[in-house]
Symmetry: C2
Subunit: 322 residues, 2 copies
């Protein structure tokens, strides 16, 4: 499998191979349940706690699969990426594990904690304007200078396969789930989730969850082409990226629907999850359960795997504090 071929789509075998490859770096995260939250939602939720994952998010799965798939020759020239945060620190961590250089382009409005974590793992941070055009230009310049390999945060078959390992674990532990729901941003996690879930259990339903204010995946899912992101600010800072041909193709093939929620619902749900589960999750991670609460009819009475994607945020000011 070449991760540079933009039409390449990983299979369940690729996801299984990724699980073996990343085992030295990625943790098998626990799954939490809460009878209190089940009473509120009417569903039976199984929370896959990727906030406890190394680097604080699921992103280490895809990043380490990509870095560990490089040839020695490629690895020597290092890796480059752009990311609003969690992929950045994950790639830095994976690169350090292989003792190679990682240059990371981060929009200047990303949470400070994510930049600091990237630097703590030895990643070299380059700030840019918060647009896809600015991200891409900065990455191109770095690639020219270093000859490094781009590890795109989602438009990369190795990354998608790595992200799918979370659902592999979830369905190994809970094979009788009816539904799996994951946030939609660039679509790397959602497409890896869908490939793993449908291959392991053909009758299962996979849903995408998105903020109304960053609903490009929902619109693209309906129109059938990559709709431009309308740059609005959402509290779910991890979900501001745009989908791509590859991830949208997988999502349209395998995903049942992409559902959206308001900013208020995201914040209220985040607080609810902190209070009931006693865990620290970032706003983006609250979006799937917010969807379950809002679109109750789609989930009530079902056994739902919920990907809690990460726990990195600035603790000095929480979203429910005005």
């Amino acid at each position: 499998m070449s991760h540079t071929d933009s039409s390449e789509v990983p299979t369940l075998d690729d996801i299984r191979a990724a699980a073996t490859r990343i085992a030295p770096l990625a943790r098998r995260t626990p799954v939490f349940t809460s009878s209190g939250l089940d009473r509120l939602s009417g569903a039976n939720a199984f929370f896959k706690c990727e906030n406890f994952q190394r680097t604080g998010s699921f992103k280490i799965r895809g990043a380490s699969n990509a870095v560990l798939s490089l040839t020695d020759e490629q690895a020597r020239r290092g890796v480059v990426t752009h990311s609003s945060g969690n992929h950045a620190s994950a790639l830095a961590c994976a690169a350090r594990h292989r003792s190679i250089r990682a240059d990371i382009v981060i929009p200047h409005n990303a949470p400070l904690s994510k930049r600091e974590t990237t630097e703590a793992f030895g990643g070299i941070v380059h700030l840019c304007e918060p647009t896809m055009a600015a991200r891409n230009a900065a990455v191109e310049a770095l690639l020219k200078k270093t000859g490094a390999t781009l590890v795109h945060p989602y438009d990369n078959a190795s990354v998608i396969a790595g992200q799918g390992t979370a659902t592999l674990e979830l369905l190994e532990n809970y094979p009788d789930l009816d539904i799996v729901i994951a946030p939609a941003s660039g679509g790397g996690l959602l497409s890896g989730t869908a490939i793993a879930a449908l291959a392991l259990k053909p009758g299962i339903h996979v849903f995408g969850a998105e903020p109304e204010r960053a609903d490009d995946t929902a619109r693209s899912f309906r129109s059938g082409r990559v709709e431009p992101v309308i740059h609005q600010d959402t509290v779910a800072d991890g979900l501001r990226a745009t989908t791509c041909e590859r991830t949208l193709g997988i999502i349209r093939q395998h995903v049942t629907d992409v559902l959206t929620v308001s900013e208020e619902e995201i914040v209220a749900t985040m607080k609810l999850l902190w209070r009931y589960l006693k865990i620290v999750i970032e706003p983006s991670a609250a979006v799937p359960f917010a969807v379950i609460l809002r679109h109750r009819g789609r989930f009530a009475g079902r056994r739902v795997g919920v990907l809690l994607t990460g726990g990195n945020l600035d603790l000095d000011k929480l979203p429910w504090q005005t």
Copy 2:
């Protein structure tokens, strides 16, 4: 074992019996580790996550052991207690499980979330002034009125035995610990911890951890008698109770030392634990690791079991936010 005899001290057998008795109500909580926190402390810490316990704290262990030890005749007349919060909701939860009435005296300055949780479990809350005298007077009045059984938050052998089950689990999972450290308030958890740890592993050291501003256990440990609590306000709202003859006797017999930390250290450590472990713990739960960081020489290089006692707090204003 009679829980009304004030000289009664539970044994390891009592703690084992409690573990069996409370199994339908109390969870076997997970143990977390963090290489990042170990680098900061120089110790090897094993965090027993009682914040994930039913009702959000270890208190369900003692409360349910006491409630499930009542005769049917006693149970019919209900239970009464006083508590700054976590024992309150735990007793209400245990009472509901046995379908009996629980009257709870709570000081009016206890966190609102703890009162609400008690009421959510069906406990009948009676507010009082935040002094031991006011607590005791309110409890006496209720006992007279209802003929119920007092389930004291710590001066009760069944409660102490129940609290000891956390350490039973911890040492079953990690038999090679050198040290176990728990917060000191009334001393129920610390004495139960000490009995379990020393009986299971005679060479182990047990430490108590206390805020400087509520250091009555440290002073009592040194003087050999129950020193009066000097009522100062500490951010560790779960650690404001005073020790008693029974718990102090156990602590002086089994505990190596009781060490204190400042308010600033508690708050900084709490934030550190949230950030590294991605878990919600209340200020009191941060006190043991704050002790490990401050009294480094006692813990560096050792394998230390740390009781993270609870995760109940008002999320609207966090202690590090001024």
